[in-house]
Symmetry: C2
DNA sequence: TGCCTCCTTTGCAAAAACGCAAAACGCCTT
DNA sequence: AAGGCGTTTTGCGTTTTTGCAAAGGAGGCA
């Protein structure tokens, strides 16, 4: 086996019985999936699937392989968990600063799980509508949407996340259907207060060319509740969608934004074993939770 | 875990405690190995090794990971074996045609193992100094060094193999040391009979610019025994080297050839389940054996 | 029959990964 | 104390891989 990763692709195709379905799940092009399967077959010297325009069906050789691919899958997923669980025995207090979207929809679950495993640990989340000042020790570490350039700081990228336009079912039912970006004209926008945007990465509506924001707040949570109540249209973090069953994506295919979270710490704090271990668990936990939520969001709403 | 294959690289580095050593074992550049490890660390969000100019040492997080990487390794290696072992219950007779180098040094072990697992199966190896004529049913399937272009045949690449100059210890001791290609002048060449070369891929010496071949045979085995007895210098399949402890590579770094084996069958025979299963086992077995022998050959001889 | 949809496959251009070579670094020996 | 040897790291050109778009088929339905 020259490339273990081909086994991962194989398993997805075996389960979906189709290149295109497996591609969607793996977030890869179907052509790539097909080529990876072909490479594995060549490497193994045996046909794994019976190919047809209706899909991929396992051959006898292929079905023999599934069991071992599943064992490998279990090993790799346990590998990730082995690092997530690295916090046992932490104690004391740790304070995290974060923008309020992250603080509201992501950190609570993640920190709760870490706290569950560490009864003597106190976790504090500081949600702030501005960049946290680590030098003044407003927090032990911070989540940011742009990597800071100045200061003796160490930055680690946590993960990408996606944002889309959304509105409530009720709002959408009360207005003409929105099929193309031009249909947005005349709708009421919900967003940030333009002159209180503390990081250019947050200027979502500006990037989309929206000029007026009739309903504005410096808090993502407030915007979110406006949308939920059917007050208008606005940008929502994908990972927040599962919280609000009544929300639907709008023009999801045409309008899509991607941003990133970064974990920022003092350079000096790198030696603090306790903080390092907490940071690792936080990063792993945030990635896991975000993947879970975005998948939920994607499946939850009908294609908008 | 975005890419299972990074776990394979991780395991090699963990075992060798060095990028360069792992790179040699994996047949990859050390820089690539380092980058793959870095990617895995980023993906997991935790440092796996303590890096120093003396090598890579596992961190606590890294050593936690080893166990799961080993489980994945076991799963993948069993996956390969699951296909190799696919022949149980074969019976009857199967005849394979092959060029005599392959027939002598590779097929015997491979076919013996298959026969071991199939008491009712008779395997016949036809070693021929020419292309096997499958249309006339001289054999059920054949190994070739070039893919045939004509005929209703189905071709499958089996594997690459390497060839190098070699001579016996005794011969080398009796002559001036050979350090550069020019030193070859005046040495006695052992090779094919020029006008009996049945496939241009076999014209090794022609490719190297050798004009006279004082000791020539149409049989690789005969050439091999000449070399073994110290009769001169000639091209030897790497996979034949472990058979002759007295042989040494000459100018291995400077002069190196690569060829490929192909498995050829009748298009009509693809439906014969028995032959297909045998072919799969043959391909897998040849690859496994060749890898084993070339690794032995590489480690056996001192660098030439 | 003819159209429509969903799938795979192929060609091509962009992006990522790779190997090579040089640089940088620490240890060991002379 | 200085130079040699092994290592990792970095920059660069090349190869490989990937995604996209179009083409090619096979079934379903009017």
């Amino acid at each position: 086996m020259d490339n273990w990763d081909d086994l991962r692709i194989f398993l997805a195709v075996a389960r979906d019985e189709s290149l295109s379905a497996a591609g969607r799940r793996l977030r890869m092009d179907a052509a790539t999936v097909g080529r990876r399967v072909a490479r594995l077959e060549e490497s193994l010297g045996a046909p794994l699937f019976a190919k047809s325009p209706q899909g991929y069906a396992l051959t006898e050789a292929g079905s023999r392989l599934v069991r071992f691919a599943e064992e490998a899958e279990q090993a790799t997923s346990q590998a990730s968990e082995a690092l997530v669980g690295r916090t046992e025995g932490l104690s004391g207090q740790i304070r995290i600063g974060a923008p309020d979207g992250c603080a509201s929809f992501l950190l609570p679950q993640v920190c709760a799980r870490i706290a569950d495993r560490n009864p003597d640990l106190d976790v504090q989340i500081v949600a702030l509508p501005r960049v946290v000042n680590l030098s003044r020790r407003e927090a032990d570490m911070a989540i940011a949407v742009s990597p800071p350039s100045a200061g003796r700081l160490v930055v680690q990228k946590v993960t990408d996340y996606r944002l889309h336009l959304a509105a409530s079912d009720a709002y959408l039912a009360a207005h003409a259907p929105i099929a193309v970006p031009e249909d947005l004209k005349g709708h009421r926008a919900v967003g940030y207060i333009p002159d209180m945007i503390f990081d250019k990465e947050l200027d979502y509506l500006g990037e989309l060319g929206v000029e007026r924001v009739p309903l504005a707040s410096n808090s993502v949570a407030v915007q979110f509740h406006w949308l939920r109540q059917g007050a208008g249209l606005g940008i929502v973090h994908d990972f927040a969608m599962p919280t609000a069953p009544g929300l639907r994506f709008v023009l999801r295919e045409q309008i899509s934004l991607t941003r990133s979270f970064y974990l920022v710490r003092h350079a000096d704090d790198r030696r603090l074993e306790r903080q390092t271990r907490f940071a690792e668990a936080l990063v792993a936990g945030m990635r896991e939770e975000l993947t879970r939520l975005e998948l939920l969001a994607e499946q939850g709403g009908p294609p908008g």
